[in-house]
């Protein structure tokens, strides 16, 4: 019976005040466990790739949970600035509504801006501190000469051609590159 009573208590609490942060935090928590587990169960991927992807997915949700909570609670706190706490002896009904609405807006802001921004800023340094780098593809492991990358648009042409026939050999020597291995004298 305690299980049924527990469900009844949860139903009562959710029915009287269903905070928007509850559901998003619950989704993020389960995603943080389920997504890395599914990734690690994938038999087609390399172990290195699996480890990297699973950690990245897990970290995203680890960042998301506190971000949702903090944004929701901070936004709800903002309602106290806009509305008076009490009207006469009763609690201001507008304040209660404003708290719910602002919490929802905070959660939306977190989903739209704060979490993607925090992930793009934090995940790379955390992963590199943990000694994990993005796994390389076959092309990266066996680099080939990629001729088509930045193909020369124009053939190199000399703007002001030097008339070598009319200058002495010292000047010709000075025009040559002065670094690297040279064969022969002036």
């Amino acid at each position: 019976m305690s299980f049924v009573n527990g469900i009844k208590n949860i139903c009562y609490k959710l029915g009287s005040n269903n905070k928007p942060t509850y559901v998003v935090m619950a989704i993020a928590a389960v995603k943080g466990i389920a997504r890395p587990t599914f990734t690690m169960m994938d038999k087609k991927e390399k172990p290195e790739t699996k480890k990297y992807t699973a950690l990245r997915e897990g970290l995203t949700e680890v960042i998301a949970i506190p971000a949702y909570w903090a944004c929701g609670e901070l936004s709800a706190w903002g309602a106290n600035i806009l509305f008076k706490e009490k009207v006469g002896d009763k609690i201001n009904p507008a304040l209660i509504k404003a708290k719910k609405n602002l919490m929802f807006m905070g959660v939306c802001t977190a989903a739209l801006f704060i979490i993607p921004a925090a992930c793009s800023v934090l995940i790379k340094p955390i992963m590199s501190k943990m000694g994990l780098k993005a796994p390389k593809t076959e092309e990266d492991n066996n680099p080939k000469l990629d001729i088509s990358t930045n193909p020369p648009q124009k053939s190199p042409t000399v703007q002001n051609p030097i008339d070598y026939a009319h200058i002495n050999s010292y000047a010709l020597y000075m025009k040559r590159p002065q670094n690297g291995m040279k064969v022969g004298g002036v």
Binding site: I7, K8, I10, C11, Y12, K13, L14, G15, S16, N18, P20, Y22, V23, V24, A26, I27, V30, K31, A34, R35, F38, K44, E45, K46, T49, L82, F83, P93, A94, L95, K97, A98, K100, N101, L102, M103, F104, V107, C108, A111, L112, F113, P116, A117, S120, K124, A134, P135, T137, E138, D140, D146, I147, S148, T149, P151, P152, S155, P156, V158
Partner: protein
């Protein structure tokens, strides 16, 4: 200005959306499908092809999750949860005896949330299309519920609302974290192939880091080299 902000912030419509699990999750997922690809696209450390591919993949993932969630998970869990709570948990007490399904409760709750008695009475007096005939709204409810709606403080049936929200919450968690991601994998790759962002023979791993594979024919390479040679010696 402050008054306008106050009106928006204390809006009852927004409050009912914020209190509704399925609506808030749907909005949040829609925002995710905009925000995450957007941040991938503005990342300067990734090359253009990878950005395009990753952003399209993220958008398709969130969009398919949302579609699956709205089309299958919400109706199943909402209806199933209500029936389960009515039959086995509350055993037709605590307000469950007045409602046969979720729709009836939602209709009642929408009107009961209105704080003004006069506007509630006005709503009850209006006529709407109901089961192939036009009837006043008041006839949709039992006499007991009608009396409740016309009283100063109508009963909110917190337990019924809570049971619906709990089943929605469980559905959202299971749906968005476990079921939808698995199903979306079947949709994402064909969609990416259709958009020309993924090739059939490539593995997903190779697609995540696209490499420029277009190699010019040897003829052109030779020509380029010969051109260079000619220009340098000139």
């Amino acid at each position: 200005m402050i008054e306008a902000v106050r009106n928006i912030v204390a809006s009852p419509t927004l409050a009912s959306i914020a209190q509704n699990t399925s609506a808030s999750v749907a909005i949040e997922t829609t925002l995710k499908s905009i925000g995450r690809p957007g941040f991938i696209l503005i990342d300067k450390d990734i090359d253009g092809d990878t950005k395009q591919y990753a952003a399209a993949k993220e958008f398709l993932y969130q969009a398919t999750c949302l579609l699956i969630y709205m089309a299958a998970i919400v109706p199943i869990f909402k209806k199933g949860g209500f029936k389960l709570a009515k039959k086995y948990i509350y055993k037709n007490t605590k307000g469950f005896e007045h409602f046969n399904n979720v729709r009836e409760f939602t209709r009642y709750h929408k009107i009961a949330e209105n704080p003004s008695l006069t506007s509630r009475c006005n709503i009850l007096g209006t006529e709407v299309g109901y089961r192939t005939s036009i009837k006043p709204v008041s006839e949709m409810f039992s006499p007991f519920l009608r009396d409740q709606l016309m009283s100063e403080n109508p009963e909110k049936y917190v337990e019924v609302k809570g049971a619906i929200e709990l089943s929605n919450l469980i559905g959202s968690v299971l749906g968005l974290a476990i079921i939808a991601p698995q199903l979306s994998h079947c949709v994402i790759h064909p969609a990416l192939r259709f958009l020309g962002l993924e090739k059939k023979n490539k593995t997903p791993e190779q697609n995540s880091l696209p490499v420029n594979k277009e190699v010019k024919p040897e003829k052109d390479v030779k020509n380029n080299n010969s051109e260079k040679k000619v220009d340098i010696t000139a």
